[in-house]
Symmetry: C2
Subunit: 195 residues, 2 copies
DNA sequence: TAATGAAGCTAAAGACCATTAGCTTTACTT
DNA sequence: AAGTAAAGCTAATGGTCTTTAGCTTCATTA
């Protein structure tokens, strides 16, 4: 990993922990194993690092949710739907990179319009759009009762988003959150899926 | 309003806009109409202001959700449930004080455990607890089908929380969010309420 | 081999910021 | 009327933080 990438990596870690204003360039440099002025060989300034990170966040979004590839094959049974859903949540909640990115966006979402938009994309449009398509497909296959797929996508993903946010704040609740998620998803399936 | 209260008021406004680290004591003083050193006649330091604000947030939570008073009388029809729900959301989304408090907590939730806990209370326990009791009561009155009231409370409140968060980030979406809320609540009632 | 440019370093400038010291005013109390 | 305490002010201190200037090293290339 190049120094430039290492700077971005450590900056993201620190920004997600202490926020942009709460992080000094010296801290970033120290984590990278370099003195602060050396950062300026790679970035024009502190804000340039921030902008590079948000560029990455946007690119990551496009890469992940830009095409329909990430949907994969549609679940064919209720249990398969539940299992893949839980597994996705567990991964999203625990993966260090995704976790850092999420906390970073939550912290900096009010900085300007661009941050706001990208946060909405990551937090709402992306995952809800994905589940809209999955449910739509499964509806056509007769696995879901006829209903508005977008509405159902919101209803299944929104509680999950709140529990993930809680686990980000209070990591000791991670297990508890996962249990709530499973209970919720099962209930959702009982209500909206066909037998 | 006393100077001390005015300081807290302006500090909350600025902290919700620019964050704690992004706000200088001089800015607070200027909004109050006073020079920065005068703040120290009322608070021991900048962090003391922050702590007073979080004390207020906690007190406000206890006052509002501590007793069951805030539940009021149970809705007696589907339409009444929908109307009161929408009205509560509209108020919560638009009231300037509540909005500032919410943005403040979202921004500072990772500062320490106390902030994390109070944010969870405001964002999850409070409103979900309220709806758990409302739905529970209405279930006993035969207006809701038999189900787990806590689960239903989560399912009706979580999407609302996400739309409110979106409207905080992107105020131009406020109307759109309210429409989504209404659509969602109506769908929720169609599914879980008796005829 | 000489030249070049990338990437590091030290030292320091310059801005900003929270806080303190010490003075003044004002209002209330005795 | 004298005393006192609250609440404001100016000036300044000490610290931190971002950024720049200028030097060194080293690898690559002409």
């Amino acid at each position: 990993m190049s120094t430039k990438e290492r700077i971005l990596d450590e900056a993201l870690t620190l920004f997600s922990q202490n926020g942009y204003d709460g992080t000094g360039v010296e801290q970033i440099a120290e984590k990278v194993g370099v003195k602060a002025p050396s950062l300026y060989k790679h970035f024009k300034g502190k804000e340039d690092i921030l902008n590079a990170l948000i560029d990455n966040a946007e690119a990551r979004y496009e890469e992940f949710f830009g095409s329909d590839k990430h949907i994969g094959k549609l679940p064919e049974t209720k249990e398969e739907f539940i299992q893949t859903a839980i597994q996705k949540v567990s991964f999203t909640m625990r993966d260090p990179m995704i976790r850092k990115m999420r906390k970073f966006l939550v912290r900096e979402q009010f900085r300007n319009e661009r941050f706001a938009e990208i946060t909405t994309k990551h937090q709402l449009s992306g995952i809800q759009g994905m589940y809209t398509k999955i449910i739509e497909g499964m509806m056509q296959n007769g696995l879901f009762k006829e209903d508005d797929p977008e509405l159902l996508a919101t209803e299944v993903t929104a509680p999950v988003a709140l529990w993930i946010a809680k686990a980000d704040r209070q990591p000791q609740c991670e297990q508890e959150s996962m249990e709530s998620v499973e209970k919720h998803v099962r209930h959702f399936c009982d209500v909206y899926m066909t037998e």
